[in-house]
Amino acid sequence: MRIFVTGIGVVSGIGLGVKENIDAFRHMKHGMGKVTLFPTELDMPVSEVKLTNEEIKSILALQSNKTYSRATLLGMLAAKEALDDSRLNISSCRVGFISSTSVGGMDLSENFFIQFKENNSKGRLREIAPHDCGDSTEKIASFLGVQGFVTTVNTACSSAANAVMLGARLIKNGHLDAVIVGGTDSLCKFTLNGFNSLMILDKEHCRPLDNSRAGLNLGEGAGYLVLQSEKTIAQQLYCELSGYANVNEAYHQTGSSPEGLGAYMSMDKAIQKSGVPKESIDYINLHGTGTPTNDLSESRAIQRIFGQRVPLLSSVKAFIGHTLGASEGIEAVYSVLSVSKGIIYPNLNFVHPIKETGLVPVTHFKDGLNIRHVLSNSFGFGGNNSSLLFSSVEGV
């Protein structure tokens, strides 16, 4: 059984919807700026979605007096776009929804906590009720009208890739006919401070794959795909999800091994699963956070697999930031377009290659290329490494 992508939807710091996002890449317009969503002492570049919660509720025609976490709202925007794009009739077959988030409703609960801490009878309950990760998933599913299997994945930064994998496997194992998969995350004080305490944030605009890179910039957003097998496809499709893999590096709680063993294993397994010869992989959407460790490990792993013939590659994280639980959801959408429209994305702020590896990423936007297969990576805390492979499908 083959799994195809029939719908895509995305919202990020560079735009609302697929078209705005691609236009931003085309015009080299990144989404980095100062934090405006919450008061903070930290002065770090972040990529915020340029919409307030009220504006999003208005777009979605939701009641403005109802409380939703920002991750829920962002997820609704992107998931709705994906579902509409697929033209799937949600009651025509068994449709599920698999979403990922690392933050959940923390944007609300961190407000609740400030008051609760002072006096535990204080704090608005409607700000703590959506705290857990499952809340955004259930609200988005309900908003879409999904009646089938619904669940939430949380493996930190690789979450959305694992959501995509689970969705594909649920179809292959006969539990679902179609599934909306991806992730959503919003910026919040807890996460910004968490990453700051790990000293992996760059105070400047990040420089993925550059020798002088000094850390990552956080971002927010949501991205979803609609997956279907050949049994239920009624209209044109974007591409095939031909391979996927998840492994645990078991090296360290947060950092990756210098040799990039985890990255190597997940890419290698995904390629093996697809049956695609590695020489046919034309582009890699890197995890490429811009941290000294990740970019080196990932580069080494790529060289181990591809040797001298490394495909075109780039990281989009200098445009949209590291969107954590949403990252592979958003970047899977970009990867799908890479295969179906021949797009390769520019890697901003690259000047000098990493001296240990010498890899040079793509620095200009191009479309209309012949991109046969795209590999997309996402690596999370807890040694969680995932890779997805998307393939073009002429004549299906």
Binding site: S102, F113, K117, D135, V153, N173, K189, G194
Partner: protein
């Protein structure tokens, strides 16, 4: 795709020992130093992480780590005390000089990650965090992994109570007549039975609240039929009654109307209410099947807050 058989070959649990008059049921925890002997990793672990990791290690004691083809964990609320610790520090210190440890420990996949790190398991490793269906998702994923060729899958679930979470749940009205609980439970599911096999996991179904009792009955019947059984074959109905009268009535109706001849069992009187409590039911059911030859099929029906509903079918039929 036909589901391959899925055997429950090892079980472990850290859970409360029932009602001691308190409104919170706390797990009876082992001496973690004896179970998690790696002091370097253990020193960073908060209580829930120790509970989960220790339980997983106990569950895997008859296996070499390399025999695990997947590690699948589940938690409803994740690592609450680490989250609170970091949150408190953030507020008290006004974003300055924050220790990174509670932040990194607060991510729900920490338990799965620590198991992998401790035991050097490089296999597939995923965590589900979907409220009252977190454990059920883990089971469904595990069954698919067995179908896809895995030999052994480690599946587990854990949730903890903290003072904060208890107070908040109380304020939200979720604990009227209900005892809040916690616990960690791990299982090795295998594609082949062995001399330690407890039972077979036949199927799992998850759904949101049905429109009517009839609809629920139809759903249950469909689930049983898809597993080659009907209502008469269910020897034991285990339900998630938790003392909240209004929400317990659905269980009582199932007992009296759909399964009047089955024996009726509960589990939250021992483990309390929490989002992954069905994992304790699974543990209890596996034990019953091992010990009581008269029981062949146990159907677990649980709901969390009357929103997330699940059915789990466990059978002796080996």
């Amino acid at each position: 795709m036909m589901q391959k058989k899925c055997y429950i070959n090892s079980i472990a649990s850290i859970h409360p020992e029932g009602d001691d008059g308190c409104s919170q049921l706390h797990a009876c925890e082992p001496d973690y130093k004896m179970v998690i002997t790696n002091a370097g990793l253990r020193r960073r672990m908060s209580r829930i992480i120790k509970m989960g990791v220790a339980c997983a290690l106990n569950c895997m004691k008859n296996y070499a780590p390399s025999q695990m083809d997947a590690v699948i964990t589940a938690t409803g609320l994740g690592c609450l005390s680490d989250t609170e610790k970091f949150m408190n520090a953030l507020i008290d210190n006004e974003e300055r000089l924050l220790n990174p440890t509670p932040f990194i420990q607060s991510t729900p996949n920490t338990i799965g990650g620590q198991i992998a790190l401790l035991c050097q398991i490089y296999a597939y490793n995923v965590t589900y965090t979907h409220r009252g269906l977190s454990f059920e998702t883990a089971l469904i994923d595990a069954m698919m992994r067995i179908n896809e060729g895995d030999g052994n899958v480690l599946v587990g679930a854990m949730d903890e109570i903290t003072e904060t979470s208890y107070l908040i749940m109380k304020r939200m009205g979720l604990l009227k007549g209900v005892k809040a609980g916690e616990g960690a439970h791990f299982f090795v599911l295998g594609k082949e039975p062995n001399e330690n096999t407890f039972a077979q996991l036949k199927g799992v179904d998850t759904f949101m609240t049905q429109d009517s009792e009839e609809a629920l009955g139809k759903r249950i019947d469909k689930f049983l039929t898809s597993n080659g059984l009907d209502r008469m074959d269910v020897d034991c109905l285990m339900t998630g009654k938790n003392g909240r009268q209004r929400l317990d009535t659905i269980y009582e109706k199932m007992e009296s109307r759909l399964f009047p001849n089955a024996c009726h069992s509960t589990f939250k009187d021992i483990c309390g209410e929490y989002q992954t409590a069905s994992a304790f039911a699974f543990w209890k059911a596996a034990n019953i099947l091992k010990e009581d030859a008269m029981i062949k099929n146990i159907l677990i029906y649980n709901h969390y807050n009357n929103i997330n509903h699940s059915l789990i079918l466990i059978s002796r039929d080996i």
